[in-house]
Subunit: 220 residues, 2 copies
């Protein structure tokens, strides 16, 4: 048996959703661990990394058509006391909705946790979540990740609220609207959100808009 035969490759998936004015992450209680953990599992020998991520997401949430992206690979030798496991971590962003959690095999339960109120997790999973949140916050500005957390149509207030929750800070309303409209990444649907308060215009994200924004870079 060679050295490398003693190393296992896992895929873990950080699944995030906005709910109750908070950014939440799906955690599972594994049968073999006292602590909550990010859902994941060992990859199959014929399974690509991305396929494993999509499979794990589907096992936990029943959802298939979701934004999934590779985050980082964690491989410190002592991150799992039982065996050397290299974990390729993905993250998935889901628009707010009712989801019936399924708790895959080998788990005793699943639940959403506010990212600001996490317990101490199994393995290096607190570190992984810190890394994931930093990445999502950084990407909010120059990619469409923010829109993955929203329904297809949204008001500017809903958009601002989503950004405020993820960034964890208050944004000036007038400034936010001016910048987001100047960036030319939205288009009006023509519809209005009615309900409490004044009716508000509905917007959609303009597909590919951030690619153009990115092209207007610092050194053109």
């Amino acid at each position: 048996m060679n050295d490398h035969d003693r190393i296992a490759v896992a895929v873990d998936v950080v699944i995030c959703m906005l709910q109750n004015e908070a950014l939440t992450v799906l955690l599972i209680k594994r049968s073999d661990q006292d602590r909550w953990a990010i859902p994941g599992g060992i990859i199959g020998v014929g399974e690509s990394l991305q396929s494993a991520a999509v499979r794990i997401l589907e096992e936990e949430t029943g959802m298939a058509d979701v934004y999934v992206e590779q985050l980082y690979t964690f491989g410190e030798p002592d991150r799992d006391q039982r065996k050397r496991v290299v974990s390729v971590v993905y993250y998935a962003l889901i628009p707010a909705q009712q989801i019936e959690l399924k708790a895959g095999s080998g788990t005793d339960g699943a639940a959403w946790f506010n990212v600001d109120e996490l317990p101490r997790l199994a393995f290096d999973h607190n570190e992984i979540l810190d890394y994931a949140l930093t990445r999502i916050r950084n990407k909010l500005e120059y990619t469409d990740v923010g829109f993955q957390l929203l329904p297809e149509e949204f008001t500017l207030t809903e958009l601002q609220t989503a950004y405020e929750i993820v960034l964890g800070e208050h944004l000036d309303k007038r400034n936010f609207r001016r910048k987001i409209l100047q960036a030319n990444i939205l288009h009006e649907t023509g519809g209005m959100r009615t309900g409490e308060g004044r009716p508000a215009k509905l917007y959609r994200y303009r597909d590919g808009a951030f690619v153009e924004v990115k092209a207007r870079r610092l050194f053109p």
Copy 2:
């Protein structure tokens, strides 16, 4: 033997340096392959991913204190015909200098290649290099990666040339200087580069400057 015991974990390192007005990458001729390849190897059971990357860099170039960052993990089941290998890819950026290539064990030679004139490489290594170059180009604008390719002290012309080579496009001199000075990421050393032409002011990158630039983001 379980499925996961048949998967090996490798670390590959994309090593880039500017030379002769080109961005070049270090490739090796592996004894077991007809084609040139990115240097790399199977990780040791007690070795972290980052340590493996630093070890490979040192084996090939003799250099230790170099900017190394994880890029992406490639794990398609068929990327290596002989065995399932998941490869965690790092990239390293080296300031231009004379390097005595050492060609580590299991290799028949090593050489620098212009990234715009690559042969067909082993495995999925062309795809990996495409991905690496895209990442480096994108990060040029909002991180200090560009400065990793330069000596500690440089003129604005040298900086512009480095950016032009990496981006593969001409930049307007006046525009470039205005933007780079406005961004407040450099400080003058007080020294001058003399030689051919007019003496030119020497600059250094202001450590951590890009963290501040990043903080001045689209939605403050």
